[in-house]
């Protein structure tokens, strides 16, 4: 054995919404668990949420990542202990029952009982203290609610994994992210968490994976020998890792995202909150279309104005009265993740359909109408050549000039690259065991059969706990 040789009964690769619950369930069941996390450990409160510094430290590639296509879709991935749960807005949604029903029906899922899943959701919600904001809402959230109410559009406050000190306001919450919940549980039960360790590929001997090859924080080669491995690197890294390990069949060919377009809205009163996001979402057009608030600090507000800077730019001087909202769609399109020999990172592509493009344009217009109703004095849609929207008549100009090729399209919800299912094209079984292997499992957002139309991490965690328990039962029964 060299210094770079590690071993574990179960190797969990990744420590986010999938990996952390997996590690906790397995460690608490008595397994010897090693969690390798590529990113660093950053404690809650060490960096300002939604700042560039946070992007530097806790996002992959500083948050500058894109799925290539026409247009390219910018996306972000957490890359730190706790993964995306550390850096996102913490908005929690149970998987809707109609989504679960669709998944079970269309993908022939077995042992997929809704009551069981919702019982797991209950546990997760308790563990993460999922709750609504105490006291006053932020002005940006309230504006979204007000605009939707005036139009008679359904909207609600989305609870978050946050705890609030007694008497605290909306922005005083502390995230109950993975580093505060499931990761400490895993280590308390004897699991090991090592950060800064990247796994490049698995070594297979027939149907059995025996070893992982990777790098330590100083870039030196490491090996990890294991009896079982659970890959939880997220919807981009997981399929790439499997492909580099020779597991390519139907892997990485069905990337699903919620594409979003955005606008900046200027109000008469100060509305900007740099370090928090709106907690309301508009569900009137769900699941096709939903609206919510984006991180809106001055840097991100400038970014939202940048497509038409010569006309929109001057508004940045009034950034305290600006906030950014998004329109997200359920997309018919799909994307791919492909590991390329010799390259460290995979090539990611995404293709939007004609209907997706039209839906994004209509979504942006409906969102602009909502912000006008909420009292915005000027609305700046994020695409090149956009009009400043001040009145309803300007919405016709918006819809007449919108072209997705000129828009800034982005997403934060990536999933479905290694989906569960019992059909011939499902790369894993109903519990995430990779087909053609006896001990390689996936347990993260890659498993979702498609994009759920709501914030997906609640679904990711619920599936992760379900699958991890099934794994425990399977192994215990066999021994």
């Amino acid at each position: 054995m060299t210094a770079g040789a590690l071993d574990a009964e179960v190797l969990v690769i990744g420590s986010g919404a999938g990996g952390a619950p997996t590690a906790a369930v397995l460690a608490e069941a008595g397994f010897d668990v090693l969690v390798l996390e590529e990113g660093p450990m950053v404690r809650q409160g060490d960096v300002v949420p939604f700042s560039l510094e946070q992007m530097d430290r806790q996002y992959r590639s500083g948050g500058v990542t894109a799925a290539l296509g026409f247009p390219a879709i910018a996306y972000t991935e957490g890359c730190c202990a706790g993964g995306g749960t550390e850096v996102n807005s913490g908005l929690y949604r149970r998987p809707p029952e109609n989504v679960l029903a669709r998944w079970r029906r269309d993908h022939g899922l077995v042992d997929f009982d809704f009551d069981d899943l919702y019982a797991i959701c209950d546990e997760i919600e308790l563990e993460l203290s999922v709750q609504t904001v105490p006291g006053e809402l932020t002005a940006a959230s309230d504006a979204l609610r007000r605009g939707a109410d005036r139009l008679g559009w359904a909207n609600d406050e989305i609870p978050r994994w946050m705890i609030y000190p007694h008497g605290a306001s909306a922005t005083d919450g502390r995230r109950r992210s993975m580093t505060e919940t499931y990761l400490p549980r895993a280590t308390a039960a004897g699991g090991r968490l090592m950060t800064g360790y990247r796994v490049d590929r698995l070594v297979l001997d027939g149907r059995r994976a025996t070893r992982a090859l990777g790098r330590d924080p100083d870039g030196r080669a490491i090996t990890v020998d294991f009896a079982h491995v659970v890959v939880c690197g997220g919807a981009i890294q997981t399929p790439a890792l499997l492909q580099r390990s020779g597991l390519r069949r139907h892997v990485g060919t069905t990337l699903a995202v919620h594409p979003t377009v955005k606008l900046a809205a200027r109000f008469a009163e100060e509305i900007n909150v740099a370090d928090d996001v709106a907690v309301h979402q508009v569900s009137e057009f769900a699941p096709d279309l939903s609206f919510g608030g984006s991180a809106s600090g001055p840097g991100l507000a400038a970014l939202a104005l940048s497509d038409s800077w010569s006309r929109f730019g001057p508004a940045i001087e009034d950034w305290r009265r600006l906030t950014v909202y998004y329109a997200a769609i359920s997309s018919e399109g799909r994307g791919t993740v492909r590991a390329v020999r010799g390259l460290r990172d995979p090539l990611v592509t995404y293709r939007l359909t004609r209907r997706d493009r039209a839906m994004l344009g209509r979504g942006l217009a409906r969102l602009a109408l909502l912000t006008l109703e909420a009292g915005a004095t000027e609305v700046y849609p994020s695409y090149r050549g956009a009009p400043v929207v001040r009145r309803r008549a300007d919405l016709a100009t918006l819809q007449g000039t919108f072209a997705l090729a000129r828009a800034s399209v982005m997403t934060v919800h990536l999933c479905s690259t290694v989906p569960i299912g019992e059909g011939p094209t499902a790369p894993t079984d109903s519990h995430g065991l990779v087909r053609g292997t006896s001990n390689v499992r996936v347990n993260d957002a890659s498993l979702l059969p498609d994009a759920p139309g709501v914030n997906p991490q609640g679904s990711v965690m619920a599936l992760a706990v379900r699958n991890a328990r099934h794994f425990v039962d399977t192994i215990k029964r066999a021994s």
């Binding site: 217009a365 409906r366 309803r392 016709a396």
Partner: protein, 354 residues
């Protein structure tokens, strides 16, 4: 008064001014307002704007109707219409408009400028309320067959007609902002008695099995039977809802295009016609091609009805009427099959060839 209205309605005015009175909707409306014992019959007189002496003669035969020949494209073309209305309450129902003109300029002249002129004249005459009949076209088409237009939507005008109807709405809302009392009703594609020849063509295409269904036929269309529309207009006129309000007025739910063709075929068969099975299915790309051609043609100032209609055929245009139900007590009571049957009978009575 009607049993449908959940809200107290005001008394009908002493004079009801109807523009476009000799048009499809105008005729149906005047008929309902004056028919003895009818549900929407009202005691006052109806001042009916028509475009020709021949139309005036025909309208004059109807009891309590005073036809006036005029032209909404010019201010002075409305002088006689609003002259000598007396001291009683006057409401205006503005149904005049053009949907399939020969040149695109007519859209602006009639729909936009015409509406502005009617608003100005009505305002000068001190009318109680104006009901402006708009359209789905200021809002374009739904981007997905499952999508429904909510009562409030961002404008996305569909070509020349849509732009002109949007301009008309905006002029009406501008007037409301400065104290004028007007409300808007937005009907989609309507059907029913008093239909113009193009609708006869529609029946003929269905009867001969040649109605062009584009794509999978699952695209949806809201439609409104004219009497349902009349109900919506009268409720909008007499309800206490604030000026500036607007409502979709349509049948209870949108229909799939396949369903429309099948239902009309069944109604024709029930009325004794031999109906061939509909076989004309065109690829979805035809609709997009026609839409592009329509755009190009309209840019040159011309208008070709067939191309325009074909370009719309693959689209979903579907609205949600729950706001009208809630605010107005609107309750559409005729559905597609019954409405189509009544239209067919009307055509037969008129001696029209189907």
């Amino acid at each position: 008064m009607p049993s449908t209205a959940a809200l107290p309605l005001r008394d009908a005015p002493d004079v009801t001014v109807v523009t476009g009175a000799a048009g499809w909707l105008g005729r149906a409306l005047v008929d309902q307002l004056t028919r003895p014992g009818g549900r929407w019959s009202r005691p006052g007189r109806v001042r009916a704007l028509v475009t020709s002496p021949a139309e005036a003669t025909a309208m004059a035969a109807i009891d309590r109707v005073d036809p006036v020949v005029g032209d909404i494209r010019r201010r002075d073309g409305l002088r006689a219409l609003f002259d000598g209305l007396g001291d009683g309450a006057v409401d205006v129902i503005h149904t005049a408009g053009v949907i399939h003109p020969t040149i695109v300029d007519d859209f602006t002249e009639i729909n936009a400028r015409g509406t502005l002129n009617v608003v100005a004249a009505a305002r000068a005459a001190g009318v109680r309320r104006m009901v402006h009949v708009s359209s789905n076209s200021p809002f374009g088409t739904n981007v997905d067959p499952g999508d429904r237009f909510r009562n409030d939507e961002p404008y996305a005008p569909y070509f020349g007609y849509g732009r002109s109807k949007m301009q008309a709405e905006l002029r009406v809302l501008d007037a409301v902002a400065t104290g004028f009392d007007a409300v808007i009703v937005r009907p989609p594609w309507f059907y029913g008695p008093f239909q113009p020849p193009r609708q006869t063509t529609f029946f003929r295409l269905v009867r001969t099995g040649r109605f062009p269904v584009i794509g999978d036929g699952r695209q949806r269309r809201s439609m409104v039977y004219v009497d349902n529309l009349v109900q919506g207009i009268v409720l909008a006129e007499l309800c206490g809802q604030p000026a500036g309000s607007a409502w979709w007025i349509a049948d209870a739910a949108p229909y799939a295009v396949d369903e429309i063709v099948a239902t009309v075929g069944r109604a024709l068969r029930d009325e004794g016609f031999a109906v061939k099975p509909n076989t004309l299915r065109l690829p979805a790309a035809i609709g997009r091609l026609a839409e592009r051609a329509d755009a190009i043609i309209q840019r040159t100032g011309r208008y070709v009805q067939q191309v325009h209609v074909l370009g719309e055929m693959d689209k979903t245009i579907a609205c949600d009427i729950s706001a009208a139900r809630l605010d107005l007590g609107y309750a559409p009571d005729v559905e597609l099959e019954e409405g189509m049957r009544r239209s067919i009978r009307w055509c037969i009575e008129q001696g029209l060839e189907l």
